[in-house]
Assembly symmetry: C2
Homo-oligomer: 237 residues x 2
């Protein structure tokens, strides 16, 4: 039986507060049975090193008395994932993250570990890889991963940092809504536009929207619609 | 000898004016020896069909008395490119565009045609593919092309629709400058951030910034800097 237990967050940081701060109360509960969290720093935001990124995560989790070990600190990263009490994959560049996971053969170990119940926190890029594919990331394709297929912990995709169209915007680049519409010219799975401050709480029987905001759901051939916090999404596919 | 002749524009449309309108005077001159322009509609903005997109391009070029033929209207697209008097690749999704060019084996014919002097206009996605790779596109990776390598008409990459960081922005998604910095953690070629209304005029001996605005240049391991319209970029690599 599957034992999934995930928090899939749009962002690590909401405006005006520290790294992971808005989620810490939730995370103290979520990670209550873990002393040490294995951190996957592969997404390297702004190109920072695995070491520096791990220090950042370590400082945040110190506030709720958790240790953090970067996966690059283990001799065998596959075993690190297999033996982890808890896993956190940070944000940054989704292409870089997925590339590195494929390179280190970590997709299958990650899947197995999460499906047997190891609590998993993802933020931004670390959340993107929980959907079916990374086809709906906002990130720049700075490296070429061997595939866009991701961990498929949910039967749909997400779009983190979801941004509403800005009224009277003079910039002619595509809006997020237009980009997702383009996605649906090629794929039929739903996409959840997760605004900053929102997350999905995923267990073996439920996928629930959490946080103070609504989210926007894009289903194939349907008008996009808003869902309230607390909405159950397990039947969305 | 190479006979390149390209206009590589950030956007097709500037705020408050019609499709290609801001460029039409320039294009009348640029395409003066062509009666018919072969249009590549593969990038499908908002997922519109090749037919509808071609109608849009046709209407714009009617104003300067040019015919437009969509490449999908030809029995043999490779021959269409080989025999074209002029080529225009429109914007939309860069991944979709490059995927379709690879699928139809059009990269090499396009290269050859442009290197023998066929005038080429690109806007947005149609400009992205003129750089070394599409690693610096803003678009969503909705399809998986067989490679990110592009036409390499210039020894660097561009970032079209370049957006400056917005002061006091509450959105925590990465700025364009941050994304390009992440790119330079993996690659050394320069990136030109082309603002809307700017274009590069490329010939066999020159690559010049045109239009009313400055552009932002990102070189590996250097502080980004602005260049004035008229700046010669042929030695940038």
């Amino acid at each position: 039986m599957e034992m999934k237990n995930l928090i899939i967050a749009s962002t690590s940081t909401v405006h005006g507060s520290g790294y992971l701060e808005y989620l810490l109360d939730e995370l103290a509960l979520f990670f209550k049975d873990a002393n040490t969290i294995v951190f996957i720093p592969y997404a390297r935001p702004s190109g920072i090193s695995h070491e520096d990124y791990t220090i950042k995560a370590r400082e945040a989790f110190k506030k709720i008395d958790k240790n953090v070990m970067g996966i690059h600190e283990f001799e065998n990263p596959i075993e690190a994932i297999q033996n982890a009490e808890a896993i956190f994959t940070g944000g940054g560049n989704t292409f870089v993250l997925l590339y590195q996971l494929y390179k280190n053969n970590l997709l299958e170990p990650l899947k197995k570990s999460v499906l047997k119940g190891t609590p998993y926190l993802g933020t931004s890029a670390g959340s993107n890889i929980c959907g079916l594919t990374i086809n709906t990331t906002n990130d720049m394709p700075i490296v070429y991963p061997p595939s866009f297929k991701a961990l498929s912990f949910m039967p749909f995709n997400i779009n983190p940092h979801y941004l509403d169209p800005i009224p009277n915007n003079k910039h002619m680049g595509e809006t997020r809504e237009t980009r997702i519409k383009e996605f649906h010219a090629y794929h039929t799975q739903p996409v959840i536009g997760l605004r900053e401050g929102s997350w999905l709480q995923v267990t073996e029987t439920s996928i629930k929207l959490k946080g103070p905001l609504t989210a926007r759901v894009f289903e194939y051939n349907k008008t996009p619609y808003e869902i309230e916090s607390g909405t159950e999404l397990k039947d969305l596919r």
